[in-house]
């Protein structure tokens, strides 16, 4: 068990190292940092000084180690576009994205899970059929179309919610939050639904399939034969087996959720990491793109790792099998 855990952690670190190297190569080979960072009237001495400061006179491997070392100390390079530190830019945008992700997770949990259970336990009920029919829209509609439609209906026609921005935010010592004001909550609702549309559909379909399958299995029939209540059978016996694959599949979809967050933030002008990435792509701001890629890759792989390593906690059979 321990050697397996250590092995998986090392593997993840290795892939992260490869990703960092590719990201570093992007920064090192593309664009002209001197032309972008130096003012046009800069002297040759200024130029030499900047070359030395950025370490551009070093061999490639030394520059990569310097790049890695810099990241460890919180130095993520300078943006070509704004000439600010990339680390500070990301830190300023992070709260907005995390709050959006959190809000969409709430939507997924409070809409997707109950509907998924409903469709799994009562697959033939009229309401389940309606839910399944509507859920096709969540899979096939492109993410940005969902956003445009929601804006057309709820902010233009009905005027209930704003169509862009975060509303009023409160600064809590470096963390700006929109969740303490009414306008902030109003602003987060449409983007959260847009971002959650895919996850909600996904959870409904996964839970339904899993519950239908588990519902057929021996131990559920046995639980019924023992005279346990339907409620007990579904919620403490069937759900236990259905949740693990659902969580796994959802974690594997995290990459898509990150991509969709870029689209959602673009549609709603949500001032988070996704819009920062979009602006960087539009202006070919390679340093920001590179750090964003490393950041996204790290988040994606660490969450996958946590999910994988937590299986034995959720499923006792795995604990015995590997011990």
């Amino acid at each position: 068990m321990i050697s397996y855990t250590v092995g998986r952690i090392l593997q993840t670190l290795l892939v992260l190292l490869v990703i960092s190297f590719i990201a570093f190569l992007l920064v090192a080979t593309l664009g002209d940092p001197l032309g972008l960072l130096l003012p046009p009237e800069a002297s040759l001495a200024d130029r030499q000084e900047l070359i030395a400061r950025l370490g551009l006179d070093q061999p490639l491997l030394a520059r990569f180690l310097h790049f890695l070392g810099g990241m460890m100390q919180g130095d993520f390079g300078l943006s070509y576009r704004t000439q600010e530190g990339v680390g500070a830019m990301i830190a300023a945008r992070l709260p907005a994205t995390i709050e959006l992700a959190f809000a969409s997770l709430l939507v997924t949990l409070f809409v997707g899970v109950p509907l998924g259970i409903l469709c799994g336990v009562r697959p033939n009920a009229a309401i389940s059929r309606v839910v399944m029919l509507v859920s096709i829209a969540g899979i096939t509609l492109p993410n940005f179309v969902v956003g445009v439609l929601l804006i057309a209906i709820f902010s233009v026609q009905l005027g209930w919610f704003p169509s862009f921005g975060r509303g009023q935010t409160v600064d809590l010592g470096g963390w700006t939050t929109g969740l303490l004001t009414l306008s902030g909550w109003q602003a987060v609702i449409l983007p959260a639904i847009t971002l959650a549309a895919f996850q909600v559909t996904f959870v409904i379909r996964m839970l339904r399939t899993q519950l239908l399958e588990v519902g057929q299995s021996e131990h559920i029939r046995f639980a019924r034969a023992r005279g346990l209540s339907e409620r007990r059978v579904w919620f403490s016996y069937a759900m236990r087996n259905a949740l693990l694959p659902t969580i796994t599949m959802l974690a594997l979809q995290l990459g898509n959720v990150i991509a969709f967050s870029v689209v959602t933030e673009g549609v709603f002008a949500w001032p988070g990491l996704g819009s920062l990435f979009l602006q960087s792509v539009q202006s070919a701001d390679i340093p920001v793109i590179a750090i964003y890629l490393i950041f996204v890759g790290a988040v994606f792989m660490i969450i996958n790792l946590i999910v994988e390593l937590s299986y034995p906690l959720l499923d006792p059979r795995l604990r015995r099998g590997r011990a």
């Binding site: 990703i19 509609l141 492109p142 993410n143 179309v145 445009v148 439609l149 057309a152 898509n256 689209v263």
Partner: protein, 297 residues
Amino acid sequence: MKSFLEALRGQPGPIAATAFILLLVLYAFTVPLFTADPFSMAGMSILDAFTPPLWMDGGQTAMPLGADDQGRNLLTAMAYGLRTSIMVGVISVVIGLVLGGALGLISGFVGGRTDALIMRLADVQLAYPALLLAMVIDAIATAVLGRGRSNEMAIAIVIVSIGIAFWVQYARTIRSSVMIERNQEYVAAARVTGRSNTAILVKHILPNVMAPVLVIATINLGIAIITEATLSFLGIGIPATYPSLGSLIRNGNAYLQSGEWWISLWPCLVLVVLVVAVNVLGDHLRDHFNPKIRGRS
């Protein structure tokens, strides 16, 4: 072709999907033949700007779906946009197919270190969603080629970005099929007759591993069209001065707030119908050509 028609027999959903696709393709490729390009001076009439659809006050019979901010007839503009979207989708899928197919063939046939290198590259790429990668490749192309690029250049960049973003799936599928096929007797027979490795790969193995990949390509066509529309909508792909479904929606989105809903919602509708039709067809073909599922239905 024959097996394609066979796959559709007695299946109303997929037949309807195919009909929709054919209609949309017909619309996209014939309307531009006898109308002026709405993105040239001849194709727009600024006096007709913001003409609403026919059934609303001020609608014109010449513009049944209304006109946009520059007075472009939306019915014509969407044909041009749809044509771009379909072409971008198809060409990018072909690029992904050729690139992934070639790498998959080599990986599966040569094996060893080459195989390991290609597959690890695929693993790293899989850490990122294709949409994000297409954006990054687009940004890299912009950084290399400079910003003052023409419409044609922008379209080429979008096509290549989407193509590269999707190669992994083809490569993996072809690789696993090749690894099975390369040990078959017909390959040994071809080798005995003295054929070169390239000839064996292309003439003997390739035809036997194509079917599952073509099915994946149909499904990816829908995703590629969505990706193009998303990129263009976000202002990264095809510029607003050139018609594609995404750039039309982006253009119309600016007027959504002031109530001119038709400029963005018609292209949205066309996009959704096209993508749903392609997906329905793709899913059906996948199920039909998958022997595991076929026996059960």
